[in-house]
Point group: none
Chain length 228, copies 2
């Protein structure tokens, strides 16, 4: 877990882009630092130890590739994930950015949503390594094992498809509590929801089928809840 706001270092020689990214990340609760070229980036990175670096590939003085290589060479910066910004997506493969140690890349023009979600994904990945969440729910004849991604019901071990598993385990994370379809969409499908809420009903049906209509109950006009 971070102390205070997570720090991000944004590196680009174009002032406009720098500003856009800075602004939107700041609003999302990051502490944003900036650099205009690779050399500055390396220098900054050593000093402020950001949790993550977002860097343009094409820059004067020292390009992103070279900066990334250098960062991976210093012990104090080598574990900081780097996201590359490239003009087009094809470019990246040719330039072999992964060999330079990049963790991800995003092609321009940058959409804030995309950037943010990648960013959060990477940070989350790091966090979960050191933040073990409750990995197993036990309701007697029903056990939900988040680590192994399986459901045990009446002694039998069932392999649920991903969405069904996540839906069930979300509802089960707070037994009794009624969740509206909107809440479910936001938590199981994610922020950028592009799914009709009827979809939930279908998944619920499938889960019920497997669990003999137990555990998931409808509260008409409100939503669904889990109860054992």
């Amino acid at each position: 877990m971070f102390k205070g706001l997570p720090k991000v270092l944004v590196v680009d020689d174009e002032q406009d882009i720098l500003e856009i990214i800075r602004h939107s990340l700041a609003k999302e609760g990051f502490e944003v630092h900036i650099a205009a070229n690779g050399a500055q980036a390396v220098e900054q990175a050593k000093k402020i130890k950001p949790e993550i670096i977002i860097m343009d590939v094409m820059m004067p003085v020292m390009d992103g590739m070279e900066a990334c290589r250098q960062l991976k060479g210093f012990p104090e910066t080598q574990n900081i994930p780097v996201i590359f910004l490239t003009a087009r997506s094809e470019e990246f493969a040719e330039l072999a950015g992964f060999e330079a140690g990049a963790d991800d890349y995003i092609s321009k023009p940058v959409r804030n949503r995309v950037l943010l979600s990648r960013l959060k994904a990477i940070l989350r990945r790091r966090n979960t390594l050191s933040t073990p969440e409750p990995e197993k729910y036990d309701f007697g004849n029903l056990k939900i094992d988040r680590e192994r991604y399986v459901v045990e019901y009446d002694g039998k071990t069932l392999q649920f498809p991903r969405k069904e598993f996540e839906l069930l385990s979300f509802l089960a994370s707070r037994p009794g509590r009624v969740f509206s379809r909107d809440e479910i969409l936001e938590n199981v499908w994610g922020n950028e929801v592009l799914v009709v809420d009827r979809t939930i009903d279908v998944h619920v049906r499938k889960i019920r089928e497997k669990l003999d209509d137990k555990f998931i109950y409808t509260v008409k006009g409100v939503g669904y809840k889990f109860e054992s």
Copy 2:
């Protein structure tokens, strides 16, 4: 929590787009207001105090940028989130927009799902900040659990239909206090609903049936009250 439907102000000079958005938002349960240019938007916003504003950037008379700047200047409107619609995800528009105080932007053509999910995300963010409601009322042999949406009476757990549950829990939120039918309609049904007030009587009767005529009492000529 809102009384009635959340209000949205949609601003666009193109009649078609206005209509499309209005229609789909109305269907999702928003009270939709419209304006055709920035000047109207500012005027409307002050008057109706919408929970959120969706505004085209390019408009005659006063463009979205300028309107947004003005809105952020007035104390009564400065906290209303603004979502911009841009013709393309032009970086310039995006940058300038954020500086003008926009909270988000969406590039045309607008997909209803995207619009809706952003909208809800923003509203939810605001709501959860200011909604620390009590989730459980306890009156001895009667407990009302708003989180689970159930009523426990004499040890038995009862599933109330939504309106009945909300009516009971509204009355129970201030035991002893008499509420007129108008007050009840406003709080349980919402401002804009047109329902005959005798409807309340019918619901009261159903609740009494389930609770053995206890808890809800008539104050003739005035209204109803809850007492344990």
